[in-house]
Symmetry: C2
Subunit: 329 residues, 2 copies
């Protein structure tokens, strides 16, 4: 008899974009926790905009990209197959150029390849690629749910878990599973300047599932670690390399180094890929300095002061205790 | 012939509180860079308030404490010597209780001892202690100016210096000296959440002296270090122990660990004291969680989320490459 599986309630951040009546609805993560509002996206240009302005981020970007192709198929009326293929290729280029660090080209590359094959075989591109995309998304959903279960298994009764930024619903869902399984678990979330994803998203979704969560500033990680307040670190990753190096939100590298210094196991959720050999091959996005210099429309820093805002860290694999991978067959 | 010394222009943060016409004027550091405004302090209660609300901080606290005693002497009319001594003792207790980490009791302890000796000797407490305080402040000024010169000597042509929080004018003044001596130096300042002293104070005073300063978020330190953008760390200290351990603004510990990991020399300005044996003896202030949960009057975090806000880190002496001490004879 198979062991009974507890159902997993999805966090709103687990699947933050979906097609509804021919429109792509994208959760505006910048408004959380004040408002849960969806942005209606109809064009590739609008998709690029929600990504670039970080209305959606991390896994949400993959959803936006794939659904943008589905939008095209809905609106392609009367397009020849040759033109449709060309459109798909052009869309892929635009989406790839939205932000540098996330592996957009790996995602769009699949779609373009599916379309090319359908075209070469004389199949209906729209039908074939739509099915492929839907099947691929369904696979990812199943694999992510599987990763949530494994993540919940990694978290033990009595653990105190430090996390950074936001791992797109999976940590909160694992926390919910732990609660159902009567594990007592504590969480520490870093604010994650400058967008405050930790304060706004992670605290919000952990609180929603009734988890015990404490917010700290990014600069308090050494303090809570040296005081023995956390015994595990769990973070996500935006891009993975063949050798295990990975990119994640700026601040992750410092936490990895501190975890090593204080001998705290460091776990990372990965989507393994062998496209890039190591971290040196990951392009890092440098965002607009105004995102640091200005807060809520007001300049907090004297005029003429420069700012440097790398959006991501590249963390060498040596710091990783264990990767919790997406693809396990 | 003595080598010619370049004059040092004082940063406003070097001496941020002084008596003017019987009132203590305290620079409100929370308004910088928008406004340079002084708070007028007339009573011990008001002194405690500007300290507790962090209108002044670090070295400014010592100035406020010592000048508060001078205020008393100005307003003591008709008090007997015995009552004056008792008043000094009571004031010391109130000032000691303002915040826990800074060594208030070491400062007030001196004043109480001077007053007690004067009383025992039958001297005029007010006269004796006023002179002592003024002399002590003058000594500290001279020693701090000396430390600025030594700090400027530590900074070499071509250096790129990372700093955290604010070292009360000394780093900016050293930067000015370096400029006069034609050294090319770059600075990176961390924001220093949650009060943004790095963004507001350090960037402001470094910019005032024409230094090249770049602001980064607290969580970007590993990024700039691993990219080779900084080759020295210089921070201040709020409390020092006999073994070299020290307390400084939350975030300093992480920077110290990262400096070690990336083999970057880590310098700290100290006011050596042997009162406390090691860092474990330093009481750490935990400030109101609302200072993290609420920003400019607006709650940025979901209700019921807890926050932990240790105001200071205790950094073990092993991480210090070199202390630049205040007291060198």
């Amino acid at each position: 008899m198979p062991s009974q599986r507890v159902n997993i309630d999805e966090s709103p951040l687990f699947w933050p974009a979906r097609l509804q009546n021919g429109v792509l609805e994208v959760l505006d993560e910048t408004l959380i926790p004040s408002r849960v509002k969806f942005i209606r996206v109809r064009t590739t240009r609008e998709s690029v905009k929600v990504i670039r302005e970080m209305k959606t981020r991390a896994f949400g970007q993959l959803l936006v990209v794939l659904n943008t192709f589905l939008l095209l198929f809905k609106n392609k009326k009367g397009m020849s197959e040759r033109i449709l293929l060309r459109e798909i290729q052009k869309m892929a280029e635009k989406l790839n150029a939205s932000r540098p660090t996330f592996p957009f080209s790996e995602v769009t590359g699949r779609v373009v390849a599916w379309a090319q094959t359908a075209f070469d075989n004389g199949d209906d591109i729209s039908n074939v690629v739509s099915q492929r995309i839907r099947g691929y998304l369904e696979q990812i959903r199943i694999r992510r749910l599987g990763r949530v279960r494994r993540l919940a298994g990694v978290i033990k009764n009595g653990d105190s878990v430090l996390t950074h930024c936001n791992v797109s619903g999976e940590l909160a869902m694992a926390a919910a599973l732990c609660r159902k399984n009567k594990k007592r678990v504590q969480f520490f979330a870093t604010e994650t300047r400058p967008y405050f994803q930790g304060a706004k998203l992670t605290c919000w979704e952990l609180k929603k599932v009734g988890a015990d969560v404490t917010l700290i500033t990014d600069n308090a990680v050494a303090s809570v670690m040296s005081d023995g307040l956390v015994n595990k670190v769990i973070v996500g990753s935006d891009r993975n390399c063949a050798n295990g190096d990975f990119a994640n939100k700026i601040g992750t590298y410092a936490i990895a180094v501190l975890a090593k210094e204080f001998e705290i196991p460091f776990y990372v959720l990965t989507q393994p890929s062998r496209r890039l050999k190591n971290g040196r091959d990951i392009p890092i996005e440098f965002r607009d300095p105004d995102e640091i210099l200005i807060f809520r429309g007001k300049r907090v820093v004297p005029r003429k002061v420069k700012a440097l805002y790398p959006g991501f860290d590249i963390i060498p694999h040596q710091y990783v205790t264990k990767a919790i991978e997406l693809n396990v067959n």
